[in-house]
Each structure stands twice: as C-alpha cells, then as structure tokens.
Symmetry: D2
Subunit: 375 residues, 4 copies
C-alpha cells in the first residue's frame, strides 16, 4: 500500500473532491482520506442551488468568488460527464427572489440597481408578468428579483462525479479512515497519522467541512467555525411545477430533473445532530405552500438534514496556515459549498503549485484574518 | 405442487392471515393466494390502534364485534409469540378521546353515559387530572373520555405473525399470485384460476381488502365497497411522550415501543393511489402539534399511506355468498381491520365449519343486506 | 376529470411509456393507466444492455427490429434530456461476447462471418489483444466476439424519462389504476373500465408486460405468453473495471456510470414471484468471478428481480387484434424490452396513425401468427 | 443544558448502553455521548448469538464471564420489555457446533468432556439423531456438539432497549457528539470536551468499541486494540428451516423470529471499512449451502458489515485506568459483545460503586496486563 503522496486531502465532501480533481488534472498524486463515506454528509444534503447573485448579494471578495465559480460549471459538467459518465444535472434555469412584502419590493429593487451597476444581469419582474412565467406562484407574491445566470446542479452527483473523476485521473480515496494527528517536523507538516497507519505527503489539505475545526485543534489551530444544521425535504410532481428556482425569505424551492422539487432549509446553529425534526419540516411545508400553493398536491418523497460549516465573519477559510508549512485549509463555505467547490479546487491547487491567487481573496479568506489562537 | 385444499384464502393481509391461522388451528389445509406480498398493503399501513370503544361508539352489532375481538388479543399475542417468536407488541394502554371544544365535552360525556349503561368501562378525565397523567397534552384540551381497555398492537407484526403461524401450522402462502377467475360448477365455487395455474378447494374466502370488489365482479357479484386512502407518519422521541393513545377529531397519536409515535390518518375516499401528499402530512402535523405540542421536537422518521375498504353502510361484509355456494367474503373493515382481525378469523372459520355465528352478526354483515346486483 | 382520449395505453413500463411518448409527439391525447407505479416492474429491473447483435444473433425480423431500435437511441437520449432534464446514460461502449471453450470460439467466429455478410460491424478479438483492452478479464477467456455498436442505457431512467416526456407533451399517467375489463360495442373496443371509473378512447394499447395475458383474457384473447423471472445484482468499484459490457454464457457484466456494475441475470420460467433467491445470486457471483475475477473485491450494493414476458416462439406481439377493432398489443419483449422500446413506440404509433409498417414485421409479430384461441 | 453528571459513558453501542442502564438502575445520573447514532455500528451488525460455550470453549476468566452474562438474559429481557415495550427476542434455542471432518469429531468430543467436567451441559449428537432434530442439515455433517443453554437475542433490539431503558430511568443520550479530549486535573479525569461543549463528571467510561483506542490516545493511553471487519447477510424462509443455531468452522446460521436467518461472518482484520465485498458474502453463501443446503432456496434480504474491537491477547479490557483516576474502559469484546454486554454493565457499575469484582476478572481484563505504553 502506497504511503507517500504529493498531497493528502482530508475529507471526501464536495470541497475535498474538487481539490483532488483539480490537483489530479495537474498531475499531482493525491489521496483523499475520509472518516465516513464519499459525499456522506452536507455535500449530499444540499439542494444544489448555484445562487451566486441570490445568496451573495453585494460586491465583496466572496461575491466575486461565487461569480467566478459559477462560470466554471458548464465546462466542469462536460468534463465530468466525459470522465465518469455521470451527469451532474447542471442547469442555468434562473432564480426568482420573490417579494411578499412592500419592504422586500423596495429592498430587492435597490439590490437590482446595485448589481446592475456592477455589470451583473438581474431585473425586476412585476407580479402580472411573473404569473405568466411562473403560473404556480401564489398571487400574494408582489414581484421578484430575477437572476437569469444563477442555476443548479445535483449536489450528490457533483460530489460523486468529482471523486470518481479524481480516481480516474489517478487519485486514491480511502474511506472509513480517521485522521488522528498531523505528522510535524518543526513547523513543517509532513503527513498524517490515521486509524489505518501513517501517510506522508508534501502537502496536507483539511477540507473536512464542519468537522475541520476538531481536526485542526490537533495541530494547535483554533479555527472558530461552528456547525449549522439545515433540514430539507423533497416532493415529486407529474409536471414541472416551476421553471426557475423560487427563493423566499422562509424557504427555497428548487426544480430538479423529472419533476422533483427540493425544498429547504432550516438553520439550526450549534448542532452536529443530523436528525430531522417534525417542526423543522412542518414549518418549511407551510412556507412553501404560501409561495407555491400547488406543492400541497405534490407527492412526498423524503426529508434529510446536513451540517454546514459557518465562520464568525461568514467567510470561508481558504489558504495555507500562517505558521505551519504545507498545511492548507478549505472550509467554512456554509450554504455555498456546492457553488464554491469549483473555484475552491482551483484556488487550493494554485496555492499548492505556488501560483499567486487574487490579492483580495488571499486577504479575505486567510486563516489569520481573525486572530487565530495558536495554543 | 399441491393443487387441492380445504380452503383457499385470497389475500395475505391481516384479515386473510387471521382466517388462515384460525382454519389451520382447526386442522384445515389452507392456501393463501396473494397478488403482491404478505402484509404489503393496508395491513402494514395501520397504526395498530385497538379502539373498540373509541372508534365504534354506540351499541350495535359492529360495536359488539369489536369488543369481542378486543378480548381475543391477550391469548392471541401469547400464541403467536410461541408459534413464531414474533412479539406483536400488544399493549392495553388505554385511549384518551380528547375534547377541545365545549361541544365535544358534552358529546363525549353523553357517550360515556351510554357506554357505562352497556356495562363498558370508560370515564371522564377533567383537564387538571389529565395534565397529571399526560403532561405532554396541550393545556387547550378541556378533558377526555378515557377508555382503559382499548389498546394497540404492531399492525405489521400482527399480520406477519398470523401468516407465519398459519405456515407453522401447515398452511401455504403463495405470493405474487393473481386470481383471474373463479372455477364454478353450476352455483358451486370449486376453486380459482391464477397466473400460476388452477387451485381447487372445498371453500374459497375472498379477503382482498379494498381489492376484493374487483375480484368478486369476476363471480358476477357487485359488492359496492370503495377505497379510502389514509396517510400517516411516524416520529421518534427519547422518552415516551404519552402513555395512552391520544385520539382527537383531526388526528390520533399512538405511542409505540421504544419511543416511536405513529400519527394518523387522513381520509381520501375513492383513491387506490398509495402516494403520500405534502398536504396530507402537513395537516396531520399541525393537528398533532395542537394536541401534543412536544411532538414538534420529535425526530422525523417516515410517512406512508394505506388503502382501506369501506362500504356504503360502514359495516364489513362477513359471510357466505347467498347464491354461490362455498364462496365466502371478509372485507369492508375500513379503519378497524386490525381490531377486527381475530374475530373475523373466528367467524369465517365457524361459518366454514358449519357452526352458527351470532344471529345479529349474521344479519348485519351478510352480503345481501344491501341489494346485491348479480349481473 | 377527463375521461375521453385518443389513446389509452395500459402499462407504464418502458414499452407503454415509449408508446405514449411517440403518440404524444404526434399530437395525440394519451392516458397511461398503470396498476402499480411507473417503471415499477421489469423496466426498472433491467441492466439496460442494448445487445442488438449480442442477444439477437441471426438475420430475422426481430434482428432487424433490434438494429432499427438501436439506431434511435442517440436522438432519443437528446430529446429526453431536453424535455425532462433526465440523462438516460446512453453509451455506445461495445459488448464483448466472450468465449471460454473451443466450441464457443468456433461458434462465435461463424457468427461474426454471418453478421459481417449482413453488413454488420463485429470482429474477433484474440485473447492477447483482449487482455490489453480489458485487462480485468480472466486469462481463461480464449477470445471474444466484439460488437462495437451495441451499448447500454439506464433502464429506470429511460422509462422515467419517457413517462415524464410524455407528460410534458400533454399525456396523463394514472397510477394505482387497475383495468378490469374492456368496453366493447360489437367488435369495437371503445375504452376500459377501471377501479377508478370508465375511460373511453379511440384506441386501446395493452403494454402490460408479463401481466398483459391476464388482461387480454378479459377480451377473450388467449395470448400464450409466460413470465420469466430474472435475478440481478449490482456492485460498486472505485475505478471502472471494464470498458465494454462482458457477455458470457452464464452471466453478463454491464459497466454503469460512476464505477457501478450490474451483473445478471438468472432465468426462472413460470414465476411471477419477484423475490431474489440466495442460490440465484450466488451462482451469478461464481459465474462473474470466473470471467472477471476482480469483481470479488467490489463493494456489494443490492440484488433484485424482474418478471419478463416471453412467448412460445420467442417473438414479441406487436399489432392490432385481428378481430377486435382498435385493440393493440405490445408485449413479449422478454430480455429485449429496453432495446426494443423506441421502435415499439414508433411501430404502434404508426399502426394507430394508419401508417403501414414493414411487411415482415407485420407478419412476424402479429397476434394471430400462433393460432389464437378466441374463447 | 445540564453539564455535570455522576458518570459520562462514551459510546452508545451495546456495551455503553448496558453500562448506562446498570448505572441508572442504581440511581446514578448518566449521560451517554455518541459520535454517531445509538446502535449505529457493530452492535447492530451482530447476529445476536449467545455462544457462551460455543465461542469460548475452555475454562478461563473469559469463559466464566460469558457464562455469567448468559444467565442474566432472562431477567434482563423481562425488565427491558417492561421498561420500554421492546422485546429483545431472547431465545434459549441451543447451538449445534457441527463437525464435517473426523478431526472435528474428535476435537468436539474432547471439548464436550472438558466442559462436562466443569459441570457444563453439552453432549454429542450423532449424525442420524441430528437429522431427526434438524432435518435441514446436510447429510455430510458427521455429528454435532450440542449446547442447550446457548441461545440468541436481536442485537439491535437489545442495544436500543438498553438505551431506551436507561433514558426511562433518567439517563441522557447525546448523539452526533464527538469527544475531543479528556479534562484532566493532575492524574484525575474530570470530564470531557466535545464538539458541543464541556461535560463534567465524577467518572468517565470509554465504551467506544473499535474506536476506543483513538480516543484513549488523547489521554496518553496506548490500548493496542485493532478492528476486525465482519460481513453478514440475512435471508427469509416461509417455515423455520432450523431450530437451533448452526455453527460450523466457516459460518454460522442463526434462526430469528418469523423465519429469518442471519448468516455470518467473515473476519477481515485491520479494516475500519464498513463496506461488504462480493467475495465476502459469496464465500459465506457457499459455506452455508454446504451445511444447510436448503438455504439456497431462501429469499435474499440484505448484507451488512460491522467492525469489532479485538485485542492482542483476545481478552476484553474491563477496568479503571491504572494511573488516571476515574477513567474506566470497557472494550475489546470482539465477537462476543452481545453476550458480554449484561455482565460488562454490571462489572463497570460495580467498579464505579467501589464494589469488588471477581479477582480473576480483575487481573485478566485489567488495562495494564499487556505493558501499556503511557506516552
């Protein structure tokens, strides 16, 4: 069994798999170590919305990171299909951010202006016109901010296809493998010790989602992320009920292939618990019926939950550890892990290759932007 | 392959399996023909409530049938455990029929009087006292009619244990076997033709639940039953939230082994469709939270639906066909199939054995009480 | 609820859904009546092999039907993706018909000659060369007949996409709807009676797979088909173990997207029973390990079974009833339902439209080629 | 949220839940911290054999521990049923240790003598007599060592019932809670730090099965256990095929309630990987068919795997840490976790209560019997 690699990636979620895929494309030898199964946690729980302009509303390094990542999906989808046979169900079907109060109307219209000034496509759709395009919407909806370039993928398929593509390109994945501690020589990270032995590498990337913090404590790093549970459910319809994704303050409704709808998501900070509560989904149901009454007639499929990693300033951590050499971190993507996976893979691969990344990303997402307590 | 039996039972739901069990105990050779799988339809969908005094409120042949069947459960549970190792989870944990309006208070108290006069145990529990016994109940509940002798079983386990016990006693079960037509000689039924050949028997019993009607049309019998879909769901709690079953006008909540709760059931007449609608379960959720607010915190498990057979006068059909000899029917049990399974098995076995059954049952449940149209 | 249609299709398997899709594309109003769920039986159990030259080896109307259908897949895949978002995973990855005895070597080489003379692409691959292209094959394999134009799809996705596409084009699907009898006026079929009421139509198509025979008995037609159970299982591998499909006398191994392999299939005639036996899959496992030893290391996924409709002369029935007007039949596709679905949809749509189909197909697949006993 | 307890138990498998149950019965306040779900790992994977004389063949502290635990099951089953409604399916149905070679005949007969001299019930059953009692056994079987007092339970139900009973008696269970490190004050353990905060307790018990070692490294303890993966599968039969459990060198076959059979188990040391391999189950199938040919006809249900904790000298660790005060360990039960759960719960509860346990148990199972390397 091989034990020395160019790069060890810890975590086989969408972020870890994207990093492994990008590194493998560049000829690096990569191993992914995963304590459970590939795509076993939040990456499979996501609705797969690509809401670059929906969720990230104002100009900022994160806004630009999201937009960059969104542009990568068409080529990525084609490459993954060709390498693995898996269709990630990428669709640029647009997102409607619907207003149900006058306050929202005003707020969204000002958002449209702000985004237009940045050169982003988005416009207001008045109630009457909205009913024509999306007749299933409640007549209570006063209008919507429409973002034509946002879209979606299948989150599970994206993650599995990235993993499979990395393997096809030469990477290894070792599941049910828990990393116990880092192998340090002075300030240099040289590998990791796991429940199935020692692995050495030139570089180690921690991409463990909400579980990254625990692991990093091992290296004396206090990352200050926290988990946020999100509950979702899915239903099936005979005919596609909505064309674009409907995004309201209380829920979102994402139309998937073959008439499925994914409806999400609650926000329960502080919990690693992956159970779904009756209250969580019953509130989402009420919220969904208010925006698209016809979902009441849809066929129930199932409910699930995922644990997303959030940070104190709501920005991900992307970068090398300031003091420990060769230790990289990519976590804290919160609700945007699917959207940000492609660009995160590229950024980490660039950093490992010694290629400079955008300056504002470097400073915005570095690990010591919030005083990191090295114990 | 044997092709001649004392009795052919059509349908491996709880009714058919109970009939086969009773006949096998009496030494009859029995085959159950089932078009799908054992316990595959409504019998597995039921919550397993034994609401002899809860659902059947007033003196009538059906009320007495239910009470008789309820008394059979303790011995049946013991016999099935010993024959099959399966614990049917029989529990005489009582049912609270809760009142949330003054109108209900009055109605339930008069019901109590009526039942007491019949010698049935039941009494009124005022709000304050109710909170002591069932502290999880909403303080909106004004009191409850308490029925100590009603209880519950696991519907799926009851059905599977009856099937397995019948097999242990010598019966056969042939699944995925569809009955196409009856073998008639004059007015005598001599067997059935199926997709896997001909089977002959001295007697044929149709116990096909909501699907019985279709089959009987083959024999020129128009039974006039109709399907009623019921949707349910289950949640899990760490501690048993309620002790007795809570029965309200909009839902019931049945506490099962290990902290599970089953919450049911919607009523959708005319549908054979076994899908669960978002609306169906979201309404049950709202109803359940009104009666026992703490269920909101419970962990979601799953949702399902079953198709119950209802009749025009809401009474089951139990008896021999008035014109076709040796053809028996046991269907139309609607919401009370689990409760009525033991007595139904006994009644049909008696009829086949030529033992007279109670006169009022005979007349109340016979096939030609509603003018049967022989085509 | 609408009750009159241009065409009623009975059965929402791959054949019924393809017919509904083709008719809907031509502007017909169509309803599919399905007694269970869409793609609920054999259509979901199939491995999805498109073995036009593999399974159908010699020139015949059926051989030409299969080849015609195979050519339809590329355009169909594109159309279904665009209408429904569903990728049917069509792949023209070739099939290796492997020889493990000298007798097979001789037989396959003569088959190659025969097919080449018909203008079909296929050639012999000697053991050494075979090991280069498919290094996972056992060194016991003496060579293979290679068919580059055969391929595969996802059988479940094909069926669901056809159903969804038909709905998108205006068709209706009514599940859990059992057809009891045909509505006849003299020799004309005018509709069907179901458990949810009467439906009338200009034409009725029976596409009920192995269950068609039962239904047709209702119309006094004795079709003489019989069920053949096939058991399968699937495993998962990290890397794609084989490139083409491996077809041996005892089993076939089909490589699916993302490293899955489907291995099938047993042949158990006469059974409608959908259970999987230990013996069935343990024999397939031994057979698969002999051809591709590395499958032993693969991760177990699941096992299942499907019931295929076979006929006495091993040819499907495609056509109008010789005496009952407007009653069409499409069944008996046995192991080739997935391959033949596109052409079957087209042929039945042509017949309904009054367009002449190929003469040899007309005579080879007509209902009264085997003396049909009209009772 | 309460944060101080009498005892923290780490691990909600059968061992942890039994400890929590025994402590709760004695009035201790207990919290179980579980990184996944209750009964989520090996405790649900076990076949539930209680092979005190089957698996532990010769007189030794472990043999006596097993026998003691076996005697506890009848009362435990009754108590758990009464506290939780869960039937753990305890059955004293006997185990046949079958001989298929002359060498085994000799070996088993000498084993019988040895056990008889210890006063244990067991006797030889010759081939002819064996066929009478267990007619499904292969005629190749030369005879069997019969152990009437061994038996079985449902492993999953036992674990869930112990957990539920502990909760009913006042314990808490916190799932999805990972312990990061121990809180030490000098040589005293005062609690644990988890991903959801700090918990303090008078005593901490590590009952994490194969995952205990990792955790203990945190406290500087090198326990030297290793994981052994075991793969199993289950089938269903109409009639109970065997009465007792059949134990051969290559597999065991355990008859469960309602005609199910569990067949296990492979032994793959060093793996934490919970996947099932085709090879693993195909070998078990062949082995099972050799002993009980009729299982070939049984209906396939499912396959799974569990990770058992083994130690260098094949004895469990039960006791207090020799240097760190208030830290207890209960792991290394390997294939006997279900059998040993009751006595383990009692032993650990005794140790915490300051009650002396049997001397030979104390020395045989203590942590520093193998030189423990405190780093």
């Amino acid at each position: 069994m091989r034990t020395h690699y160019d790069v060890i990636v810890i975590g086989a979620g969408v972020i870890g798999c994207s990093i492994a895929y990008h590194l493998s494309k560049r000829g690096k030898s990569v191993i992914i170590l995963e304590k459970g199964s590939t795509a076993g946690k939040a990456s499979s729980a996501a609705a797969g919305m690509l809401g670059a302009q929906t969720e990230l509303e104002e100009d900022s390094p994160l806004f630009r990171l999201g937009k960059q990542s969104r542009t990568m999906f068409p080529d990525l989808a084609a490459d993954l299909k060709s390498l693995t046979g898996i269709d990630i169900e990428y669709e640029k079907n647009g997102i409607y951010k619907v207003a149900r109060t006058e306050e929202q109307v005003v707020r969204f219209q000002s958002l449209i202006n702000a985004q237009n000034q940045l050169g982003e496509e988005t416009h207001w759709v008045a109630a009457e016109q909205l009913q024509k395009g999306e007749p299933a919407l409640s007549t209570d909806v006063l209008g919507a901010m429409y973002i034509p370039n946002d879209g979606q993928v299948s989150a599970t398929k994206l993650t599995k296809a990235l993993a499979q593509a990395a393997v096809t390109l030469g990477a290894e994945i070792r599941e049910f493998t828990e990393v116990h501690r880092f192998v340090k020589e002075g300030v240099e990270i040289k590998g990791v010790e796991t429940n199935s032995g020692l692995n050495r590498a030139e570089h180690v990337v921690v991409a463990g989602g909400a579980w990254s913090e625990t692991l990093l404590k091992e290296a004396g790093v206090n990352l200050e992320t926290y988990p946020v549970k999100g509950e979702c459910f899915s239903v099936k319809t005979r005919k596609r009920l909505i064309n674009g994704t409907i995004f309201s303050d209380d829920c979102y409704i994402v139309p998937k292939a073959g008439g499925r709808l994914i409806i999400g998501a609650t926000e329960r900070p502080g919990l690693f618990d992956e159970t779904v509560t009756l209250d969580g989904i019953s509130r989402l149901m009420e919220a969904a019926k208010k925006v698209v009454p016809g979902v009441g007639e849809a066929e129930w499929e199932k409910a699930w939950a995922g644990i997303r990693p959030q940070t104190k300033d709501a920005l991900p951590y992307l970068g090398e550890h300031p003091e420990l050499k060769h230790l990289f971190v990519a976590t804290g993507h919160y609700r945007n892990g699917i959207l940000l996976a492609p660009v995160t893979g590229e950024v980490i691969a660039d950093l490992i290759d010694g290629i400079a990344i955008k300056k504002d990303w470097n400073s915005a997402f570095q690990m010591n932007r919030i005083p990191v307590q090295v114990q």
